[in-house]
Amino acid sequence: MGHILRLGFKHWRSDFSSAEMRLLLIATLVAAMSMTMITTFTDRLTRTMEYRASELIAGDLILQGQNSMNPEWIDEAKRRGLNHTPAIVFSTMAYANDALELSRVRAVGKGYPLKGENQVTDQPYGKSKIIDGAPAPGHVWVDQRVIQALNISVGDTIELGDSEFLVEYILVQDADRSGNFYSPFGAIMMNLDDLEATGVLGPGSRVTQKHYFTAPSASNAGSAHQGKHDNNADLQQIIQFADWLKPQLTEHERLSGAIDSDTSMGTAVQRAQQYLSLASLVAVLLAGVAIAMASQRFSERHYETAALLRCLGAQQKDISRIFILKLLITGIVASVLGSALGFLAHYGLFQLMQGLLPTDVMPAQWSPVIISMLSSLVVLLAFAFAPIQQLKSVSPVRVLRRELNPKPVRLNVFYLLAILAIGGLAYVLTGNFKLTLIFVVGLSALSLLYGGLAAGFLVLIHRISNRLPRRIQTGFNQLYRHRYYAISQLGAFAFIFTAITLIIVVRTDLFSRWQASIPADTPNHFAINVLPDTKNEFEGFLKQNGVNASDFYPIVRGRLIEINGQEVKQAVSKEDNVRAVQRELSLTWSDHLSEDSEIIDGDWWPITNEVNSVEQSPSIIPPEVNRVSIESELAQKLNIKVGDELTFTIVGQPLSATVHNIRQVKWDNFKPNFYMVFEPGVLNDFHHTYINSFYLKNQNTELLLDINRNFKAVTIIPTEKVIKQVREILEQTTVAVEYILMLVLLAGIVLLFATLLSTLSLRRHEAAIYRTLGASGNYIRNLIVYEYLWLGLLAGGLAMLSTELLSWALYSNVFDADWKPHPLLWVFTPLFAMAVIVISGWLASRPVMTASPNRLLREVG
């Protein structure tokens, strides 16, 4: 077998200069490059984003519970080398200047926050600064609301239980932002060591225990960002610990990670990742088809070689080995080279985006590079295997009779291998089974569709072709004569243009959607605790100052306890981790559906005059039936349908309501959103305050201080930083996507040439005969141009149809977005396809048009 391998290697070297071999090499190189660039880039970016997301919850993992927790869990975390710090959260009265304020106190342990940072200021609404660590013993940081309510300033003292504390700073942003956003209480941060002395926590006190964990080298304890360059092994440790802990948790405890799907951060990152993976998959797929076309041509060009080798005594398995070896060497060279280029390209990408990306990006790892290298080899083998295997069935008699072709490629083997390879890669790249399935099924359907439609078009146009102008008719006849090749060429061309237009359409749609989801005037402040008697006045104040504010929503705190009489805890399994049923919810009522929401089941309640004037007439008669609207994802998780009866407890009082509709909510619009919206009149008698959001240009401190002076109870929460972060992520991904689009285009060009090459020798042969029979160069030029025009028109038409079909499928099934037809696409895709195919076809066929018939005849033998 050694001598066969040596022979294979020798042949590879001598074959290297052939166009097919180079195309195979370039196609594989593009696949490897695309995969390495994307996987390395997304791997690093994802890990960085995970890190940044975990900055928002002050750790990689939070364990939280109402009662004291099993100390063994903490011991186990320490044994695993994880960083840990505890915190206790409770409510108590803060006292100063003869005023009392019910406050939410967070007593934090040494090392808090493990990730992220607290932000404080010295002045009300002053410029905030980042501060390391947490309050020292004897000191507290209090938020604006406490400052207002107790009428204190920085440097004053406040009392908590038996202890007195110096107010060191005004707390602007707690590192842990996972708490309830709409908390009606003021916030105080103190040192855990001071807690006991206050005496506020007696046996049975209602407290929340929190434990923060980070991977061993991921903590920013000590010097800021020290050990930020953690590696996957560290994150693995967090995941392993979480996996170990989850089964032991009771209903009283909850474990949460950095990226929760219901945060705007999480959604943006996940969508961007899915998009990037999809784009790179498209590039790989284009490269795969180019490999299939180039290897078919490669195979055809080697029929003679295979026949001669067979004639000289090579066995079938020798032929397989020689050619598979040639393929393997090509694959190894291309994948190593491609991966190296891809790796360099990803640095280029980071370099390009330097200003947008965080300065500390997680270091690159080997695994994505190696996986990409192997995957590109798999793509090459899967797509080229069937055509190459065809060579072993070449009959040795072909040395005497050239017309003897081998059995055609076994299409079932070809498709099976291609689908397996692409399906596997889709799963590796996206990690999403549904997306993989859509991709593979869509692709298979597309191949069939292309084949069927291309054949149909050809037959249909053939029937009416005699009514077409002569030149156009001649071009079509030329295409029709080559219909066996034309169908596969049409499929390949349609595929290229579908890939390119789909990537552009999805990019444009999704990004404009995401950008639109946080427009320039996205509310960047929330006003909470607006009391009913000051609501109108506050609203007028905002209007007077030209502030663009959202609707006001009343808030009543309540907990969902039963669904159709069954305890809610039984209705939901622990694994589902439905946060909404583990805590008090902010319940609201409204007479109208908010503009960003959509009813997906049931209908909204009718607006009546009485209901409209609900604020003015608090003595409104409650409706006969209590009706509530529920958010769709929660309804799905809890299996709640329209007509179900939900029971809540509000300040200890039960209240039942029938689900009247299910509502889809856009969580990331930075406006007040609610799981439960009641019909007006149901909750009015409960104590409630109002919330709204508004947009302030720049940091208008003057106005905020005015609000502070005139509406003492109102607390303003700025959200500028979160919005900025989300916006940054979107900008980063947009640039990344454009870079990847270039790769898709590159793969498309490789495929384009592979496709043109597949019929070049046929064209050469025909041109030789035409020229010999006296046809002018002009005639042949026209023939080729009109044939390519037809190819472009039909391929563009197919691409346009399939882009619309695929974008519809992707939007409705994967991206959860509304789909609209793209009329511009209908015009531009065929035009673009015609231009590209005619120009590149012209360039590729130039030698055929200008060469002498004698040379052409000699070349084709």
Binding site: R6, S14, T305, L312, G313, A314, P396, V399, L400
Partner: protein, 239 residues
């Protein structure tokens, strides 16, 4: 002793729903060291007969034995092994691999057999056919006659017992053709190879010790007295 023995050999091909008989119940014996020409008009089935005798193709019925190996009982790989061990080929279109050098082309059958002396033997043979100075040239850098010399070197390099030649001068001008024929018959005599030559050229056929005519799928034995020794032949040169 017969090194090639064909008994009741038939070959049919199906064209759609029609069956076309190319060879029917044909018998042929070729003795060791003998040179035999198969002549016939274009389309008479000469190449088909050659491909069956050489084990390149399988017969519809009948038996073929090559050096005692019954080809009709072997599968394609089995026949390939027989070809590698016992058979050499020369073709009208030379059949050199375009990307390989002359040396690599000659080494090819030896490398397939795993011969460790492939390069030394190939070089020796290229010297012998007068191409010692052009070993590293690729086929497109050689003339037709030179290419056929490379093919002859490749055919003899494995020292086969039987040599099949399909119109070896068909693509060459008369002078070059004559030179090639001289070389071929000289080497054939020197190495005691059995030669089976397919041609439609009667003059070339007469250079062989024996010739048979293929007509309507059957063989007709030629006249022995027509045989001309290659050394004093001027048939090709004058034809």
């Amino acid at each position: 002793m017969a090194v090639i023995k064909a008994e009741n050999l038939s070959k049919e091909v199906s064209l759609g729903n029609q069956t076309l008989s190319i060879l029917s119940a044909l018998n042929l014996e070729v003795n060791a060291r003998e040179s035999l020409a198969i002549i016939g008009r274009s389309g008479s089935g000469k190449s088909t007969l050659l491909s069956l005798l050489a084990g390149l193709d399988s017969a519809t019925s009948g038996k073929i034995a090559l050096n005692g190996n019954e080809l009709t009982k072997l599968d394609e790989d089995g026949r390939a092994a027989v070809r590698n061990q016992h058979v050499g080929f020369i073709f009208q279109s030379f059949q050199l691999l375009p990307h390989l050098t002359a040396l690599d082309n000659v080494m090819l059958p030896l490398e397939l057999a795993g011969d460790k002396q492939a390069q030394r033997k190939a070089e020796a043979w290229l010297d012998k056919v007068g191409l010692g100075g052009r070993m590293h040239h690729q086929p497109n850098q050689l003339s037709g006659g030179e290419q056929q010399r490379v093919a002859i070197a490749r055919a003899f390099v494995t020292e086969p017992e039987i040599l099949f030649a399909d119109e070896p001068t068909g693509n060459l001008d008369p002078t070059t053709g004559q030179n090639i024929v001289d070389l071929l018959f000289e080497l054939n005599a020197e190495h005691g190879t059995t030669l089976v030559l397919v041609t439609h050229d009667h003059q070339l056929a007469h250079l062989c010790q024996r010739y048979v005519i293929l007509e309507n799928g059957a063989l007709i034995e030629g006249q022995a007295e027509d045989t001309v020794s290659p050394q004093n032949s001027s048939l090709v040169r004058n034809g």
